[in-house]
């Protein structure tokens, strides 16, 4: 279950507390520790090529009874909006989405904030609940919040997004 640091370990632990059986992910350097942590814990990984594809696959798994989560980056929500609205929201298919944020401290990509900054507003505009986790939040809160977001998503039959701060692992190692 070891991820890159106490915060990401706690995020993985919270998902395991919920009982996650499967996760669909779009590869990301920032979320890689979470992906590897879930894999190490024996949660079945499904890799998708695009974020809307991840929504489709995860939604199908949820309809068939799986406790499935999506792990992705926040800049992929632009790809996923139509799938989230016309499928997950419209059909009440609830699953948690954990997305690392980009464009903040430690960012090295000069244009990524143009999508990452408005993501919370975009998601709220389409009626998706957004939770945030930052390094100023205690580690215990990360774990509890990760579990609670998953429980909320299945209870409300809607996707719930958790946006979490994660430095690029290489930058983190240099600190």
């Amino acid at each position: 279950m070891k991820a890159s640091n106490a915060f990401l370990d706690a995020l993985v632990a919270g998902m395991l507390d919920w009982g996650v059986t499967d996760f669909v992910y779009v590869p990301s350097s920032h979320s890689a520790p979470v992906i590897r942590g879930l894999e190490a814990a024996g949660v079945r990984p499904i890799m998708a090529n695009r974020e809307e594809e991840a929504v489709g696959v995860a939604g199908g798994m949820r309809l068939a009874g799986a406790k499935v989560a999506i792990v992705m980056q926040d800049n992929g929500f632009g790809n996923a909006l139509t799938a989230l609205t016309t499928f997950a929201q419209a059909y009440h298919v609830g699953f948690p989405i954990y997305a690392n944020t980009r464009g903040g401290l430690g960012e090295y990509n000069s244009m990524i904030q143009s999508i990452s900054e408005p993501v919370p507003a975009l998601l709220r505009a389409i009626g998706i609940r957004v939770e945030t986790l930052g390094v100023s939040d205690p580690v215990d809160v990360w774990r509890l919040s990760a579990r609670a977001a998953a429980e909320l998503s299945t209870m409300q039959h809607r996707p719930v997004v958790t946006l979490f701060e994660a430095l690029h692992p290489a930058l983190e190692a240099a600190l």
Binding site: D22, E52, V57, M61, A64, G65
Partner: protein, 196 residues
Amino acid sequence: MNRLDALRVIDRLFAEHLLIVTCGATARELAAISCRPNHLPLLDSMGLTSAVGLGVALSHPGPVGVIDGDGSILMGFSVLPTLACYAPANLTVIVLDNGQHASADGMPSQAAQVDIAGAADGLGLVTVRVDGPDELGSAVSTALTSHGFHLILAKIETGNTAGIPFRLDDPVVMADQFRLAADRLRRSGVAGAAGA
């Protein structure tokens, strides 16, 4: 073979199995034949059908079908390599290929120029090409009784059937019926083919 001919064959063979159905006239024409709780139309999620079907198949022990269209699968084409990577043995994807976006004023799709089945072949998927209802029925029956993922590309005539009403069902209700049907099938052990 027109679309209704193809849908009658698929509906009969998937009468007791989970089936995900693409949007537009395909969903409406299938509803004109039957409305089963174990069949889930995605009324406005063009390009997503095969991804949803893949997800269902990965988490359900019995056979799962997808009715996609050439325009729809081209829109979500990134799912083809994902299907090839995971290829659940209980999944059959049927692409009804009329070479056009029949629900978008009949504009031609790129399938009129490119070979979707060839792309699937190239990805290593077991791909079958059919032209008529008997061939389609035989291909679907083979897929349902053999252990392995199948992609069936069925050539159909252009155009939509006239006089078919819109589907105005509540998606929430359809999804709930589908969940219950999946659970019922899981409990009853209607498997036929093992899951992935």
